[in-house]
Symmetry: C2
Subunit: 216 residues, 2 copies
DNA sequence: GTCTATAGAATGATAGAC
DNA sequence: GTCTATCATTCTATAGAC
């Protein structure tokens, strides 16, 4: 079912003297780039990128196909923008973790929490990233950037092993892949607004990864 | 690049008096249902099911499209057969685990090992199953069957918690999803014939899941 | 009048059915 | 191999808010 576009003129602020959060938009009201991208990414993750046609998106938005092309140059550009958002979110969380923590083990822990935060708050975008098959240059680029992210995580694991705060009888790359495999699998079943709090979920993930399932 | 079809007549056995492993096939030599399915599943997992056309498959096999339709009624039937194989493999491993082990904790451990064994030996088939989006009745059926499998695993976790052999401060469903999320993520990077032995890999997975990453 | 969002019709390419 | 539906995309023109 089509979603009604939000008219920018209706966006108001509670405080009387506040500046508008978004600069007033002139011209005919309707969807903006942001809203179209959000819907597109949601449909992409529901049906798959390849299986989704521009016609599908226009039906979902209640627009014609040509109206969509006013917002985006191509279907592939929609994908590229979505992947950029997912990757910059994850990379940003990793950089904050490195900045704010002193030891590799603490950085790793913070990186896990950060990744789960990004994954739960931008679920559709991250899901899209995780399902890439590398069928186009855009996808290959994103996959490569993701590979570099994974390598930075593996580096953290290696340092934490050297610190003696992570067991070193398992290869660092394997540890990184297993832990992030567990994290990434959250996109398959976590539902925003559901019963599960993202922070408590991160607690559970860290509990399993660090302490294991054996009873205390 | 096309793969040469194996002529059944060339399949021999080392021992002189052995029965042929496969009954001799009459008629024009060429691909059998099995070989076509194998190639199709590999291409599906490489490019994605939706992104793969029948023309892609025929190019890969060096056959015409009509020759392919001699082996299969539809693209969807190829998918259905592949999913059946993946699901029966996983279900079989679970049933063996339940049969051969006495306690829930041991059954769970054996189920983890069995799932990893199936995943590594039938990687393409399991990968296809894990990437389903539910876009057709065939996919919905498979997703439902997979959901029942997951519920049986969660049941094992619950029993193992009741036995006191698995920590019970984390919800059983969550534990099952996290552990199998970790296992399923293996399809993303495990490569058959590579440096990593599947049995040792299962050791690592169980080590992380049961004992965690903290040093001994 | 200016700016933005949207429509409608048409094109070339390709995939899947038969 | 042929046929037809569907796909992504483009062009030109209009509608509505300031």
């Amino acid at each position: 079912m089509p979603v009604s576009p939000a008219y920018r003129g209706e966006v108001t602020d509670d405080s009387a003297d506040a500046q508008p959060r978004v600069p007033a938009r002139r011209g005919r009201p309707g969807y903006g780039r942001e809203e179209v991208l959000d819907v597109a990414v949601r449909v992409f993750t529901e049906q798959g990128y390849d299986a989704t046609s521009i016609a599908d998106l226009s039906k979902e938005l209640g627009l014609t196909k040509s109206a969509l092309y006013h917002h985006f140059a191509s279907k592939e550009q929609l994908l590229a923008l979505a992947l950029e958002r997912a990757l910059s979110g994850l990379e940003g969380a990793l950089e904050r973790a490195i900045e704010e923590q002193a030891t590799a083990a603490d950085r790793l822990r913070a990186a896990v929490r950060g990744a789960i935060e990004v994954l739960t708050s931008q679920q559709s975008y991250v899901t899209l990233l995780l399902r890439l098959r590398g069928n186009s240059p855009v996808e290959l680029d994103a996959l490569d950037r993701r590979r570099r992210f994974d390598q930075r995580i593996a580096g953290l694991v290696r340092e934490a092993q050297a610190e003696g705060r992570i067991r070193d009888d398992i290869d660092a790359g394997t540890v990184a892949r297993l832990v992030f495999g567990m994290i990434n699998s959250l996109v398959e079943w976590y539902r925003p607004g559901g019963a599960i709090d993202p922070v408590l979920l991160a607690d559970d993930v860290l509990a399993v990864a660090l302490d294991g399932l054996r009873p205390r």
